[in-house]
């Protein structure tokens, strides 16, 4: 009896501490939004809202248009995810179901190690090793093969929107693969074996049972990858060319909101500083919007009667 009482007080305190931590994280998110908003208010009060879609960025003459940075952020993230989602989910499926047992552990560990490489290392590698290769081999090839689309106009500089998108793709891929592989492997074996038992081919099992079964977890992986791609600062700033103009082709120089903040914040004062906080707020809102959009998509697919039971 005394033994039971000895564990009750710490037990209650532990539970309360964990609950407090959970509430703290929610409060932290609210605090972020409020802090950004408070710092951004001077910009909104002196410039109105039009600077959010203004196209000219020239702080020395009072022009603070953020559109080219917002578009640049969306474009680089889109390129990165366009490459990462098919390749990442494919790799994760392979690691979870297709690769021989002996190779599963070493390959998984290698992918996880890639996720541990610091971003600035990717940026330096991208600038020093990949950019010259892009300029001399990749960009000329893409221009000659796909130039008719109009997406590859301009000189072959190496750095630019495409390189930034590719570096981001390499950075988010390990995270996406590591989480997706765990989620895909966690689909109940009864469902997989059940599908095989009724005569489904390997591809049918993977695409009609496993992937739909893991879709909530895959959405989580996708959201994490998007979050990382949206917020990547130094690696992007090193390879994107830092030009505050709207990119007209995949080879142009562009800029993202994080690269703008890292290059301009040091000496920004007054209105410009406030505008940078407003830009950070926009980034935060875009990230949250992507998250909610994804959840909505998953819920609507569930409601429309998709095949299997979702993994919690």
């Amino acid at each position: 009896m005394s033994r039971r009482r000895r564990f009750t007080v710490p037990d209650r305190a532990y539970r309360r501490a964990l609950a407090a931590a959970a509430v703290l994280f929610a409060a932290l998110l609210v605090a972020f939004v409020v802090a950004m908003a408070v710092q951004a208010v001077p910009a909104f009060s002196s410039l109105g809202f039009s600077f959010l879609w203004g196209t000219t960025w020239d702080p020395y003459h009072g022009a603070y248009g953020l559109l080219s940075f917002i578009v640049g952020t969306v474009e680089t993230t889109a390129i990165a995810l366009f490459l990462a989602v098919p390749i990442g989910i494919g790799t994760a499926l392979a690691l979870a179901y297709l690769v021989p047992d002996r190779m599963r552990a070493p390959l998984s560990t290698t992918v996880e190690l890639l996720a541990a490489v610091p971003s600035v290392v990717y940026g330096l590698w991208g600038l020093v090793v990949v950019a010259p290769y892009f300029a001399t081999h990749v960009e000329p090839f893409l221009t000659s093969a796909f130039g008719w689309t109009g997406l590859f106009a301009g000189p072959n500089q190496g750095v630019g929107l495409l390189l930034a998108g590719v570096i981001l793709f390499i950075m988010v891929l390990p995270t996406l693969v590591a989480i997706s592989r765990d989620v895909l492997a966690a689909v109940p074996r009864e469902q997989v074996e059940g599908a095989m038992a009724v005569g489904a081919t390997r591809w049918q099992v993977l695409w009609r049972v496993v992937v739909p079964g893991a879709r909530t977890g895959l959405l989580g992986a996708f959201t994490l990858a998007t979050g990382r791609a949206l917020g990547e600062t130094v690696a992007v700033a090193l390879v994107i060319g830092n030009s505050p103009h709207l990119a007209t082709s995949l080879k142009s120089n562009a800029a993202t909101i994080p690269s703008l903040i890292v290059s301009a914040f040091g000496e920004a004062t007054g209105t410009q500083r406030s505008v940078l906080f407003a830009a950070a707020l926009v980034l935060l809102v875009v990230g949250i919007a992507v998250n909610f959009l994804g959840r909505f998509f998953v819920r609507s697919v569930k409601r429309s009667g998709a095949a299997s039971v979702a993994v919690a």
Binding site: S108, N156, V159, S252
Partner: protein
């Protein structure tokens, strides 16, 4: 695959903890010993130069080396980072009580940090304007700007097969960076370089994306020699560049971009160009001669204008056949009224040592900076002699 944690009984845990502590103490001790042996070895190598300073009759320098203990911080220009790093390290080797931490964040950010009071001194390639000075705290009692380095800005290019010394003149450089000259084999460049085979490739220009004093010196030069530039982007720490120009952060960023981008050209401080073995252009000076940036040509340019002050500081495009036209001083920014006697006195003594021959200026040539001319060193000292402590006493003494 997760590995279950191994079960460790309590007795082994405490023994392991003790082992860890002993290992930690031993390695910390070894590290400290290595560091102190490093600094003592560098003392012996700089011992020669300090022996030479004893011969010179500068009474302030000896006192400078006996400054009181302090940890000073500075921030600003990337233009001066190589020489500041080396000189402050050499100073700390001679006077282990003082450490100076310098962050090269760009001239613009350095001025902001100085205005915010987060650093002891700022560093900027362009002196603070009246508007900047108005933003410093009133407790500073005013701002003093001390010239601390003299350097040149090179036009470094990455052209496979073309050696150093491509001839370029002001209007051509301006047209290249405006985008009106788009290819390397453009007739305007070919005319200046008969006999050089220029590739048929588009030119990628690289500029500074952060607020930069190097940018100011370069655009000051372009505004002086090209009306198209003066009426277009103009001069400033940050200007508007065409969309095809690549922006990089810091002198080191531009250097890295030029190195990685074939057929590119960018403006980098001479020390960075020498360290990276860049090929750079011979620029036509005001006398019509094509001059390569070297210590001698930058010094020749600076010597043409001995009356430099913090309000009249531009030395670009000076007359003289040996002058390299794109050069400038860099300035240290300090409060006239220091809040603390000890750290304030150490600050002025370190800066005085930094700006004089026999002190920090001896480190300059090995890195590609020109030692300050004698009259500019005198200007630095008279400026530093105006710094007072909180009670009004002059801090720099013999």
């Amino acid at each position: 695959m997760s590995v279950p944690p191994s079960h460790q009984p309590v007795r082994t845990a405490s023994r392991n903890r003790r082992r860890l502590l002993v290992t930690g103490v031993l390695s910390a001790g070894l590290l400290l010993a290595a560091c102190s042996s490093n600094s003592s070895s560098s003392t012996t190598t700089t011992g020669g130069s300090s022996g030479a300073t004893a011969k010179s009759a500068d009474p302030y320098l000896a006192a400078d080396l006996k400054a009181g203990a302090a940890q000073l911080t500075g921030a600003g220009s990337t233009f001066v980072q190589p020489v500041f790093t080396k000189a402050f390290y050499a100073y700390s080797a001679l006077n282990q009580a003082v450490t100076v931490n310098y962050q090269a964040v760009g001239s613009g950010a350095g001025i902001t940090a100085f205005q915010g009071g987060t650093v002891n001194f700022g560093a900027s390639d362009v002196p603070m304007t009246a508007a900047d000075i108005a933003k410093v705290p009133a407790s500073y009692g005013g701002v003093l700007q001390v010239p601390d380095t003299l350097g040149g800005v090179t036009l470094s290019y990455n052209l496979p097969g073309v050696k150093t010394g491509l001839h370029l003149d002001g209007p051509t450089i301006s047209a290249i960076f405006l985008g009106t000259i788009a290819k390397w084999n453009d007739p305007a460049i070919a005319k200046l370089n008969p006999g050089v085979s220029l590739p048929d490739q588009p030119i990628t220009t690289v500029h500074r994306s952060d607020g930069s004093g190097t940018n100011y010196i370069f655009t000051d030069y372009l505004s002086t020699v090209s009306p198209a530039w003066a009426s277009g982007p103009g001069k400033g720490k940050s200007v508007t560049w065409p969309a095809s120009s690549v922006g990089s952060s810091g002198n080191s960023g531009v250097a890295a971009s030029v190195k990685s981008t074939p057929y590119s050209i960018g403006y980098v401080e001479l020390a960075y160009a020498l360290q990276n073995n860049f090929t750079f252009a011979a620029v036509k000076n005001a006398a019509g001669v094509y001059v390569l940036p070297t210590l001698a040509s930058v010094a020749a340019d600076a010597s043409q204008d001995p009356n430099v002050t913090s309000t009249n500081f531009s030395i670009v495009n000076q007359p003289g056949t040996a002058s390299y036209p794109i050069a400038g001083y860099s300035w240290a920014l300090i409060a006239m009224k220091q809040p603390n006697d000890t750290s304030g006195k150490t600050l002025v003594q370190v800066l005085d040592w930094m700006t004089h021959t026999g002190g920090g200026q001896d480190q300059a040539p090995s890195l590609g900076y020109v030692p300050l001319p004698a009259n500019i060193q005198a200007l630095a000292r008279t400026t530093l002699l105006q710094v007072t402590g909180p009670n009004g006493a002059v801090l720099l003494t013999k």
